[in-house]
């Protein structure tokens, strides 16, 4: 950020904010492209029809006349036999539940219509997410209806992987026989799962495995936080993941961690982060990111430094050195062990190694010290090379302890239970499998044959296990090696409970009866445990649902102090969805003091800095695909990555300077394909030139390259996990030595950020916190509106408006999926996105500013601005887009004839045209997810954001039934509801006291392209960065 922009091409001054490198470089080809509305020409008719063609048209007319005599298709009405009590067809029924997409376990409300879940919304009362829900959580709804789910138990031919339908009875017989044989012969039985946040499921697993003496439960997470737990054990004597309090941190230092993107509990962290980013409150947290790649957190950092993964440990130790040795201030400053461990790590040498400007770390250490007790150092558990991962966490623990953050921002009293996996355990399991020691392997919720490093050959190791059952919902890469697949329900079909953090119990209840012949994993364990005839489950009866209730009767009910009967308590808990222990924090242990002995993890001598030689490969977890578990989810595949803005692919990211050196194109449509070689594995991928990446680092997203995900997810990109390392009991995803070579081929990447240029118009305004304090309108240079030649609209009732705080928007893209689910927005696929014809009504534009090597980033949600003087309205020849009496700009589908004039005339480029009948290719099961309140658009029709007009209508009807006006806060659009940071506010701007009216009056508020006099009803708030002015 401190580097001054340099530019090599002789073209005009680069735009202040830019969206792609091609734009920054003013690539002539791209310039030519952006002068057209559409990236590819539409099929144009160049000749008038010949006589023969004309006769054909006449024939069509005659056919029309004939068809006119026929009745419309005869439809049937099938009534209920007995109508369920709670069902009112046409009205939504909501269920409180818990998201099961990842172990963060956010609270959700499931909206069902006529018995079908059609939308997930974050639960406001839930202590984890408090209203927001991430993109993956929202999209997990689509997995329920995934047509590639297996529809019942399956027997797999282990030699060929071919699957054949089986029965539950057959699986039960075979599995219990195998378990009994293993038990009697003393063979090992292992249950391999991902993190089980459900205390009741964990207890059931204990009961089940307890009856087999040689049984073990191995927990493994592909997105692992194991290094943190391990380091906590070394430093404080207890294996745990603390609860990180971003809301209490005045200064947040992230070391390759991405709490806003994928680390541990993103909606929780995002909410906490945003709570400290309101400049109007007079204080603002400051975020410093030190990272090899540009993470979502990095894009939101005030100050960012690029450091390659191998140097992260040195940087953290140098900060500790500053506090303990150079300028001894911390409590352990006099400790001999600490002194010895740190002696080699002075900030000068670390700065030199890491390529930081001299003095950077000293200043940072001073700043941390000044914020002691209210700062937080957070390092990514997989950010450093495998041999450093634990040492990095130990060093971070030392820093946090030295700064007195323990118990404040590092809360160990109510630790997180969202990541319980152990890398050591799964690698030990692999060794045991290699030695042929595992008799029976049961696999639930993980896909190790895909997510473990290819070098480990987990697929081959599975062949050495005599009996395997997978509980996967499809015959995935791991299940393909199993004897049977016993599919678990989707989480929306299941009972469960979750404990994301000590003291919180979150219930999950079925929102729909199971669609297929699946069976709850827990019911399967119960039935096998009973059939084994010994142990705790023998002789018991009842379903998993009853088991769960019993656990709550024994565990939770007595602690609740409820005066009511258990049945009433249970009903209440189901209705609320979550139960919290009173007096939070009373249950857990205190942080304990730092044990200097843990510093033994730190390499005694500093490793020689890698230089020249190979590049450093970072395999990162992307916001959209996570670990690839939902790769068959088309919403997620089409969701552009929040940073690269590329969808339907993974790619090798390299820094601009490195790209220049290699001579690869920075234009995504013509991406050069390179071979990435890490020695033990290699593959080809296109290159994406990523500003902000460290020049010695290349980055590849994991989660792609699935081979057995289904029709959507298969063969999309390459599997990054194949390049991972497994060394010394750890899985390494960072700092892998890699070489890349050009193949000479090119492959286009579907980058939506190249579409729809802004012609250098001022669209983003930003300022610094210091300037804001002096003048709240600083940085807001937006032009004011000119007088209009149109007479103004009159709004006597409501007038809907929106405010979007650029300071709160972190770019997580949750709103995009929320919008897609709410409004039946179709998925179009890579080839159509490549033509610039994606359909998202709401997009998030990502702008860079400054030097391409170290740019700053702004995320800007862009949707229909519902302009007062809407340019689209004046050009529509058939009045299909008109203004209504509440300020909405309407799009009337049945009137639209598809001239596309409106899109042409829209300065915000938010209108989307249906080039094809996208709904006709929907699989039958995927039609169940459609919102019946929103028209499914057909071919040849323009569509765009409606401000969720169906939700407005619902709210108005609800208010009308009560005889009141819609109250502020009762009405939210899908995007504003889903936003984890509450960046979007929606409401009635005719009500001067509404939140949105207050926001629109802020001195930070501006309208995008106000000089066009469109008078948008969406107000953006200037981005405020908490850093010094550049050049100051």
């Amino acid at each position: 950020m401190s580097e001054t922009p340099t530019k090599t091409s002789e073209a005009a001054i680069p735009p202040k904010h830019w969206r792609s490198l091609a734009e920054w470089n003013d690539d002539p080809e791209v310039r030519a492209l952006r002068e057209r509305e559409f990236l590819t020409p539409s099929e144009e008719v160049t000749e008038i029809p010949s006589r023969r063609e004309f006769l054909k048209l006449v024939g069509a007319g005659a056919a029309f006349a004939a068809a006119g005599c026929a009745r419309k298709p005869v439809e049937k009405i099938l009534p209920y036999i007995r109508m369920p009590e709670e069902a009112v067809p046409g009205k939504a029924v909501w269920y409180a539940s818990t998201c099961g997409e990842c172990p963060a376990a956010c609270g959700v409300l499931v909206k069902t219509r006529e018995g079908r879940p059609i939308k997930l919304e974050g639960m406001k009362e839930h202590p984890v997410n408090r209203g927001g829900l991430c993109a993956r959580g929202q999209a997990s709804l689509l997995n329920l209806y995934d047509p590639d789910r297996i529809q019942g138990p399956v027997a797999v031919d282990r030699s060929s992987g071919a699957a054949k339908a089986s029965t539950w009875a057959a699986i039960d017989v075979r599995a219990t026989r195998a378990l009994r044989e293993a038990r009697d012969a003393g063979g090992r039985v292992v249950l391999l799962t991902g993190t089980l946040t459900s205390p009741s499921t964990r207890s059931l697993v204990e009961d089940f495995l307890g009856s087999i003496p040689s049984a073990a439960h191995v927990t493994y997470d592909a997105v692992s936080s194991d290094a943190i737990a391990k380091a906590q054990e070394l430093c404080y004597g207890e294996r745990r993941i603390p609860r990180y309090r971003l809301d209490k941190a005045d200064l947040l230092l992230t070391i390759g961690a991405d709490p806003l993107g994928t680390f541990l509990s993103p909606p929780e962290f995002a909410r906490d982060f945003a709570s400290r980013r309101h400049p109007e409150s007079g204080s603002m947290s400051r975020v410093v990111a030190i990272e090899p790649i540009l993470t979502l957190t990095g894009t939101n950092a005030d100050v960012r430094h690029r450091v390659r993964p191998e140097h992260l440990l040195g940087v953290v130790l140098a900060l500790a050195h500053e506090l303990h040795v150079k300028n001894p201030r911390a409590a352990l400053a006099g400790n001999a062990a600490v002194g010895v461990s740190l002696q080699d790590y002075s900030s000068e040498s670390a700065e030199q190694d890491a390529g930081l400007r001299p003095g950077t770390l000293t200043a940072l250490a001073d700043e941390l010290w000044a914020n002691r007790g209210k700062s937080l150092v957070l390092a990514g558990p997989q950010a450093a090379p495998a041999n450093h991962a634990v040492a990095l966490q130990v060093a971070v623990n030392l820093l946090n302890s030295a700064l007195g953050n323990d118990g404040v921002t590092v809360d160990t009293a109510t630790p997180s239970l969202q990541a319980q996996g152990s890398e050591e355990a799964v690698l030990t399991l692999a060794e045991r499998m290699r030695a042929g020691e595992i008799q029976v392997l049961l696999i639930h919720g993980v896909n190790p044959a895909y997510t473990l490093p290819a070098a480990l050959g987990f697929g081959d190791l599975l062949k050495r296990v005599p009996f395997i059952v997978s509980f996967s919902d499809r015959v995935d890469e791991t299940a393909r090696h199993a004897d049977f697949v016993a599919p678990d329900h989707h989480y929306l079909e299941s009972w469960n409970d979750h404990e994301p953090r000590r003291g919180i119990r979150s219930l999950a209840q079925p929102a729909i009866a199971p669609l297929y012949g699946t069976r709850a994993f827990q019911d399967t364990l119960l039935s096998w445990g009973r059939a084994l005839g010994a142990g705790l489950l023998a002789g018991t009866a009842g379903t998993w649902h009853e088991y769960l209730r019993e656990r709550w009767r024994k565990d939770v009910y007595p602690r609740s102090g409820a005066a009511a009967t258990f049945d009433l308590f249970w009903e209440g808990a189901l209705r609320e969805g979550v139960w919290q222990a009173g007096g939070q924090g009373a249950t857990g242990a205190g942080p304990g003091s730092f044990r200097p002995g843990a510093l033994g993890e730190i390499p005694a001598t500093k490793a020689s800095p890698p230089s020249g030689g190979p590049l450093s490969l970072v395999l990162y977890t992307p916001v959209t695909m996570y670990d690839g578990r939902s790769a068959n989810n088309a919403w997620l595949q089409e969701l552009p990555d929040p940073i690269s803005k590329i969808d339907w692919d993974n790619y090798v990211s390299i820094a601009p300077s490195r790209a220049k050196e290699l001579g690869v194109s920075d234009y995504e449509m013509k991406a050069d394909v390179v071979t990435v070689d890490v020695g033990h594995a290699k593959f080809d991928l296109p290159v994406h030139v990523q500003p902000g990446l460290h020049p010695d680092v290349i980055a590849i997203a994991v989660g792609y390259g699935r081979t057995a995900a289904g029709r959507i997810g298969n063969k999309v990109g390459q599997n990054g996990y194949a390049l991972a390392q497994a060394t010394a009991g750890r899985v390494g995803l960072s700092g892998i030595p890699a070489r890349i070579t050009k193949t000479g081929r090119q492959a286009p990447l579907a980058c939506v950020q190249g579409h729809q240029y802004t012609e250098d118009r001022p669209i983003i305004y930003e300022t610094t916190f210091a300037s804001f304090l002096k003048d709240p309108s600083s940085g807001n240079e937006a032009p004011t509106h000119e007088p209009s030649m149109w007479s103004p609209h009159k709004y006597t009732g409501y007038r809907w408006g929106m405010a979007i705080d650029l300071n709160a928007c972190i770019g997580c893209s949750a709103c995009m999926i929320a919008c897609q689910a709410e409004n039946n927005v179709p998925v179009v696929g890579k080839s159509i996105v490549l033509r610039g014809r994606e359909m998202h009504w709401l997009r998030i534009d990502r702008y860079y500013s400054g030097n391409p090597e170290m740019p700053e980033t702004v995320h800007q949600p862009m949707l229909c601005q519902h302009c007062e003087n809407a340019p689209c309205e004046t050009v529509c020849p058939v009045l299909a887009t008109v203004h209504d009496s509440e300020g909405l700009n309407l799009q009337i589908y049945n009137r639209c004839v598809g001239t596309r004039y409106c899109s042409n005339n829209c300065p915000y480029k938010v209108r989307r045209f249906n080039w094809f009948d996208y709904s006709s290719v929907r699989e039958k099961s995927l039609r169940l997810v459609l919102n019946p309140d929103v028209t499914v658009r057909s071919k040849g029709v323009m569509e765009k954001c409606t401000f969720c007009v169906q939700r407005i209508r619902d709210a108005k009807e609800h208010a009308k039934a009560l005889g009141v006006r819609v109250r502020d806060g009762d009405l939210e659009t899908a995007c504003s509801q889903s936003c984890p940071t509450q960046a979007i506010t929606f409401g009635d701007i005719n009500d001067p006291k509404s939140r949105v009216s207050e926001m629109q009056k802020h001195p930070r508020g501006y309208h995008v392209l106000a000089d066009l006099n469109t008078r948008p009803v969406v107000t953006y708030e200037v981005k405020v960065r908490n850093r010094e002015e550049v050049g100051a």
Binding site: G68, R71, P89, K91, S885
Partner: protein, 170 residues
Amino acid sequence: MSTLKPKQIIPIALILIVLGGWSFFDSFSNVGYAPKQPVPFSHKLHAGTNKIPCLYCHSNAERSRHAMVPAMAVCMNCHTVVKTDSPAIQMVTQYYQSGRPIPWVRVHREPDYVYFSHQWHIARGFKCQQCHGEVEKMDVIQQSKDLKMGFCISCHRQNKAPTDCNTCHV
């Protein structure tokens, strides 16, 4: 035999297209559409002679956009004792006991892009007959109004109801 010249074809083609298009779109109105129903249910007998209120069976009309064909359990409220010797009732009982719904043929239908809520029209005090005709006089249910946009709009105008496009098109 005289052949038609291209110039002569054009007006004929235009007429054909106009006529074809007109009859095509007109076919959506369906006034008088009275398909044969699987069970010969008579609204005349139930609503007319026996004066059962519409909302007794179509109770959902008060609380939702859909009026709904009643659940079969509603038929059985009476017909477990009333007229159990009639072959039609025996048919209904058979459907009910075997757990199969009667496949009624739909008569009134608005396109998917139209939002119409029974709830608010009932709340405003409109009679069902205003749109559905004199159902209580129909032995076989049939459509009596065209239920096209003009029909909706003229009534909305008369009653000063909103005529914003998104009142009905969402």
